[in-house]
């Protein structure tokens, strides 16, 4: 996917970082158990299983049973990390996530790998475009979409330290590096401001953070100063950061590798409406599944690149309350 993140360097896939972080965490905490549903080599949970076979269960192709078992482990004092493709663990395990995890507020960590459409050739049945909305609908769940390998490591650590259910989305392809090292200050519900700017704020997560940074550079050349916020935690949302974005920049664009319904954009819009209403535009999948194809080609076709982020900014700027001064104003600030 080199073509859609010019200027950025690629690191590992977030799923690789998940497996490594889990293995490292396992050395420190004997209460961690890991379950997978016959996708351990893809989710990378096997990285843990290789080192701690007595704390690793591959339950076979049984997502519902896996989630239920995790509830039993958690209520017995263990800290289960369970994984499968996002499309399977969330959709086939949803009632179980509700009854055996969310409702009883149990300490289960769920990793849905192969999130979004960037998994590519396998096609829409394996691509997850609705997991964030569904995970956010489970009370008490923390919902997190890390953007790169460094942030994923911090997220796995934070997930262990958090007493309660957590959903983590990981991705299949190598991800552009946003951070230089594991961010020491990461915590759930706290966004990271990556670029300052006064004309508009781009709020993104996952792979779309890279697209937002690319868009930031392109917009700068047009004289638009775009603030870029990495909103890795979709729930709980960093409402203070959203309010600040609205108040400081007067317009917001969200970008996510997910349906527009119920994900990052919808949650940011709710916070904007409740705190400081400003015009918004939304980048994401508009009521559609994707299809098979090369990941980069899919991101282009379904509008998940820096180009769409930039276009969304160009659409929202004229809607700003003080739009006559908005465009080009950033260059002077």
């Amino acid at each position: 996917m080199n073509g859609i993140y010019p200027g950025l360097t690629f690191g590992k896939a977030t799923r690789d970082a998940y497996g490594e972080a889990l293995r490292d965490l396992g050395a420190k905490h004997s209460d961690i158990v890991v379950l997978d549903a016959d996708l351990a080599k893809s989710t990378k949970s096997f990285t843990f299983g290789e080192v701690y076979p007595d704390r690793f269960w591959n339950v076979g192709i049984q997502e519902a049973n896996m989630v239920g078992m995790a509830g039993g482990f958690a209520s017995s004092g263990k800290v289960p990390f369970i994984s499968s493709f996002a499309a399977f663990v969330i959709l086939k395990g949803y009632d179980q996530l509700r009854m055996a995890v969310s409702y009883p507020k149990l300490n289960v960590k769920v990793c849905g790998s192969h999130g979004g459409i960037s998994i590519g050739e396998d096609g829409a049945s394996q691509q997850s475009v609705e997991d964030i909305a569904l995970a956010c609908a489970l009370p008490d769940f923390v919902v997190c979409v890390p953007c790169d390998e460094h942030q994923m490591r911090a997220v796995v650590q934070a997930a262990y330290e958090h007493d309660g259910p957590v959903y983590i989305r990981s991705g299949r392809p190598k991800a552009p590096l946003i951070y230089d090292a594991t961010p020491a200050d990461f915590r759930f519900g706290k966004a990271t401001r990556l670029r300052e700017g006064g004309d508009v704020t781009i709020i993104a997560n996952g792979l779309m953070v890279g697209a937002a940074l690319v868009a930031h550079e392109e917009l700068k050349r047009e004289g638009v100063a775009a603030r870029v916020v990495d909103m890795a935690t979709v729930k709980p949302l960093d409402v203070d950061e959203v309010r600040a974005a609205a108040a400081d920049t007067g317009a917001i664009v969200t970008a996510e590798e997910h349906l527009l319904h119920g994900g990052l954009g919808a949650r940011v819009a709710q916070a904007v409406a409740a705190t400081h209403p400003v015009p918004m535009e939304f980048v994401g999948l508009d009521d559609t599944y994707a299809e098979s194809g090369d990941p980069e080609a899919l991101m282009w076709k379904y509008g998940l690149t820096a180009k769409e982020v930039g276009d969304a900014v160009r659409r929202v700027l004229p809607r700003r309350a003080d739009h006559s001064t908005a465009v080009g104003a950033g260059a002077r600030r």
Binding site: D54, G71, D95
Partner: protein, 289 residues
């Protein structure tokens, strides 16, 4: 943990007559709380009375009502969550909470939710009510105990209609493979589900063969004969791998006008019906209250 290293539960002769009296007392509590609530599921609560009584009062479950979170307690999961009045009655009579609290069943602000909820009434081990899930949760608990070398048995009570759920067989298959010797499934085979007879809707026979094929040791019993129930539970907890007791029961057992009558699946008794039912369930003077 090897079977011979595990502590025997309730070893020695059990007082079957005392268990029978206890069953009467539990039935009375079920009928009274459902009448007070004016909603709930009498049929499937009454069919499971002897099974639950044997577990809580026959020495099979190790528990301490003053320490419901005791790590070495045995676990009981009511996977057929709609039958929870029988568990609430047993928990109250076992001292987990006051019997007067039974009258709050299904009412606002009560710990006694319409279906079991972990973290509400003490003694409830899992949130159930969406059918098919308890055996998976129990399997997780059984493996966690095995991992820690804890002598903990996990008992899961399933409904017969519930066994139409695919997740039951996911869990059965996984347990058949992982072979936890501390996991016991009991099926309250009362032959009815909400819409009618199990055999007419989606039959589950040959039922024992299904469990055997999934790697379980299976024994069938008369689920209202406490001698038979106790003997079967003794057998089940001495198995090396997962064991299933298929208990043949009668929906509405103990209340003549409810027995085999599926319309009492989810309809509470009226005051008149309660009076008739209680008259036929006299408390013995040494009754187990």
């Amino acid at each position: 943990m090897k079977q011979d290293q595990r502590q025997a539960r309730g070893a020695g002769a059990r007082d079957i007559a005392a268990l029978e009296r206890r069953a009467v007392a539990v039935r009375r509590d079920i009928l009274e709380m459902l009448t007070e609530a004016q909603s709930g599921h009498p049929g499937g609560s009454l069919s499971a009375v002897e099974l639950v009584v044997a577990l809580y009062f026959g020495g099979f479950l190790r528990y301490d009502p003053n320490r419901p979170d005791w790590e070495d307690r045995d676990r009981f999961i009511l996977s057929k969550g709609h039958g929870v009045p029988v568990q609430y009655a047993a928990l109250a009579q076992a001292g987990f909470f006051p019997r007067e609290e039974l009258r709050t069943l299904r009412k606002i602000d009560s710990r006694l939710q319409g279906h079991p909820v972990l973290g509400t009434a003490p003694g409830i081990e899992a949130s159930t009510g969406s059918l098919g899930q308890g055996l998976s949760i129990g399997l997780g608990m059984a493996l966690a105990a095995r991992m820690d070398g804890r002598d903990v048995n996990v008992w899961v009570l399933l409904g017969d209609g519930e066994c139409q759920e695919g997740q039951v067989w996911e869990a059965a298959m996984a347990a058949g493979h992982m072979k936890p010797g501390n996991l016991i499934a009991i099926v309250d085979y009362n032959k009815f589900q909400l819409d009618g007879a199990v055999a007419d809707i989606i039959g589950i026979e040959p039922f024992a063969d299904k469990w055997r094929a999934f790697g379980w040791a299976v024994r069938e019993c008369d689920g209202h004969n406490l001698e038979d129930v106790v003997t079967s539970f003794d057998w089940a907890q001495s198995q090396e791998g997962p064991a299933c007791v298929i208990a043949h029961t009668v929906k509405g057992q103990g209340v003549t006008f409810m027995e085999h009558q599926n319309r009492y699946h989810g309809v509470a008794p009226t005051q008149d019906e309660l009076a008739r039912a209680l008259a036929a369930l006299p408390l013995h003077e040494e009754g187990g209250e």
